[in-house]
């Protein structure tokens, strides 16, 4: 969770922008989110008032706490590998408000993390939510680490988009 302030709220919750990489590195392209976070942290290109965190499969923990109350970032950027039927390795941006209501019932094992919590953060808590998604080539059914070449090649592009989101660009 990083540094904590005196009232024990994680410092990352007080940042202007919180970037959360989601996914399980044990399952191939599902590790896309954590891979992007690792690159962002090593590149050091995020602005000072942004924070990047590898949430792994624990993103719900973080989102629950944000919904429950306390300081929140102005914007959350979720980075995740998804299967949206696009070309493997394609990186695309989705706003939480673009998620159609009926789509929520379709979200399954490897798709958007906690889509309703994200919508609730936006609609009830005033947090702007953007999803930077990478189209997976395949998510294995059994444990198998490592991104596919298509997804590994997309990490720099995803980082670029995240940095622009965190820097105030690409606003709707």
């Amino acid at each position: 969770m990083g540094e904590m302030s005196g009232d024990f709220v994680p410092e990352c919750f007080r940042k202007d922008v919180l970037v959360l990489g989601c996914g399980n590195v044990l399952f191939g392209d599902d590790g896309f989110g954590p891979a992007v976070i690792e690159r962002l942290r090593s590149d050091g290109r995020l602005p000072a008032d942004a924070c990047a965190m590898d949430a792994g499969t624990g993103v719900r923990e973080i989102l629950f706490d944000l919904v429950l109350g306390g300081p929140r970032p102005r914007k959350i950027v979720i980075v995740d590998g998804v299967d949206a039927g696009r070309k493997p390795g394609e990186v695309f941006r989705i706003a939480a408000g673009e998620l159609p209501a009926n789509k929520l019932d379709d979200f399954s094992l490897h798709q958007m993390p906690t889509s309703n919590l994200l919508k609730e953060l936006e609609e009830h808590c005033g947090v702007s939510v953007v999803i930077v998604a990478g189209q997976v080539e395949r998510i294995p059914e059994e444990v198998s680490m490592g991104l596919s070449p298509a997804m590994a090649g997309s990490v720099p592009e995803a980082c670029e988009i995240v940095v622009r989101e965190a820097s105030g660009g690409l606003e709707e």
């Binding site: 024990f8 923990e61 094992l109």
Partner: protein
């Protein structure tokens, strides 16, 4: 024509599950099946790796229970290497684990299962969720998030980080705790403990009374129980012997290394997940009227198997619980009550450990050497007894891994609870969302962690019901 109702996915639990409720021609429940996704191939993935890597790798299994896996793996490694870790390391590990237990149990009670009780099982799905909690009890919501931050901070002070922990190492702990840190931790632990007491009182006064009839009747099954006890038969969530209690209350204690003498695994063709059972009790059967070999783990089981709790407030709660419900208590929804008793215990135990001067000893790690061996480690994960069983070659490389998670132990009882509830509630083909949610409550009461491969959890009750006739044809779909 008989019909099959499918509830998929089950909401507000970790992972993905499908419930099928099969109706006979009269519209009454003929059978049910809870089919879950599990983490497949993990054991095979570990083979050939240095065993000391496992405490770090297994944190990735689950985003909600990383500490349980981390510590069970560390204990298995200690056993593989044949070391008894220094007392200070044992205490630090247990302290970190108490922080995690409070963090996890509070999440479960107020956020995962809370909406059912605070909002009501027949409340509209749009408010039967965490936003509904914030709206209805905003002051409690603020306290919940503060205490969760405190518990996370405790883990971070002790181990450097809370998410994906890596501070437990074979042979002990990676760094000692100093007096300044103990001072800070005491304040945090005290506040967590106070909130645990508040939560217990709040639940007993404002939540449970309205649902006592439901608690006493919904999804009640008759099983044995598995938990951990210390040398005095008292609760300990980090270390001790396993205790397997049969439905009549008789029990047997054994070291976890001998678990295969007591627990076997049954396989059903329709489920990826196996069904552990107590092999000394007879052949496996999930028959509701004559179950055999079935036991449960997790909070209710732990509260049943212990003779006592060594911390005073939790002991008082245990006595009140037993006076009301007996020992062993079988009612499935009492998991929620038992979980709060454990939260009180975790807070008190954390304070005890912090008052123990040995916890600041600099001796926190023993050297280990690779060797061929087998080691078994277990902890009481928030979701049940978690067992890690490793074997290594002479170079310390993993040759075999077996992991039994709490939820696997509960696979049979979850199925039975759902069947019991479905049979009691669905009659003559009549069902509605409230009834279907109450069936789901049976699963949520066990707080299962069904597939740690997933991080996709839809926050609302996304009930999609496929009506399938006995010939396998979908004749209708209901969705909210």
């Amino acid at each position: 024509m008989g019909q099959t109702i499918t509830i998929q996915p089950v909401t507000r639990i970790e992972g993905h599950a499908k419930i099928q409720i099969h109706l006979d021609d009269n519209g009454n429940v003929a059978d049910t099946a809870v089919n879950v996704v599990e983490l497949r191939g993990f054991e095979r993935f570990c083979i050939g790796r240095p065993v000391e890597e496992l405490p770090r790798i297994v944190c990735r299994i689950c985003g909600v229970c990383p500490w349980a896996h981390h510590l069970a793996a560390a204990k298995a490694c200690d056993a593989v290497f044949g070391v008894d870790i220094p007392p200070a390391a044992k205490k630090i590990r247990e302290l970190a684990y108490m922080a995690h237990t409070m963090h996890s149990h509070i999440l479960h009670f107020f956020i995962l299962s809370g909406p059912d009780f605070v909002m009501g099982p027949d409340a509209d799905y749009s408010v039967r969720n965490v936003v509904g909690i914030v709206g209805k009890v905003p002051d409690i919501a603020k306290k919940v998030v503060r205490v969760r931050h405190l518990a996370q901070m405790m883990s971070q002070v002790l181990g450097g980080k809370a998410i994906h922990p890596d501070a437990a190492v074979p042979g002990g702990w990676s760094k000692p705790v100093n007096k300044d840190e103990v001072g800070k931790l005491k304040g945090m632990a005290q506040e967590c403990m106070d909130f645990a007491s508040f939560a217990m009182d709040f639940a007993k006064k404002d939540i449970f009374p309205a649902y006592l009839d439901t608690v006493k009747t919904l999804g009640v099954i008759n099983t044995g129980f598995l938990g951990t006890v210390d040398g005095n038969g008292a609760m300990n969530l980090y270390d001790g012997n396993l205790r397997l209690m049969s439905p009549d209350g008789k029990f047997e204690d054994f070291p976890v290394a001998n678990y295969t003498d007591h627990i076997a695994e049954h396989v059903e063709a329709w489920s990826y997940l196996k069904f552990p059972y107590a092999k000394k009790w007879g052949p496996f059967s999930m028959d509701l009227d004559k179950p055999s070999g079935i036991y449960r783990t997790n909070a209710l089981a732990r509260v049943n198997v212990v003779d006592k709790i060594a911390t005073p407030k939790a002991q008082a709660e245990l006595e009140e619980f037993r006076k009301a419900f007996g020992r062993p208590a079988q009612q499935t929804l009492l998991y929620h009550w038992a979980r709060l008793i454990e939260t009180v215990y975790a807070g008190e135990r954390a304070m005890e450990l912090l008052e123990d001067s040995e916890i600041t000893s600099r001796d926190v790690r023993k050297k280990v050497e690779p060797r061929a061996g087998r080691g078994v480690g277990s902890v009481e994960a928030p979701r049940g007894t978690l067992i890690h069983d490793y074997e290594t070659d002479a170079n310390g490389m993993v040759t075999n891994v077996n992991i039994i998670v709490g939820t696997t132990h509960n696979n049979a009882p979850i199925n039975m609870s759902v069947k019991r509830a479905a049979k009691d509630l669905i009659k003559n083909g009549k069902y509605d969302e409230k009834i279907l949610n109450m069936v789901e409550m049976m699963i949520r009461a066990h707080d299962p962690c069904l597939s740690c491969a997933t991080h996709a959890l839809d926050g609302r009750v996304a009930v999609s019901v496929d009506i399938i006739d006995s010939a396998g044809r979908k004749v209708a779909t209901l969705a909210n």
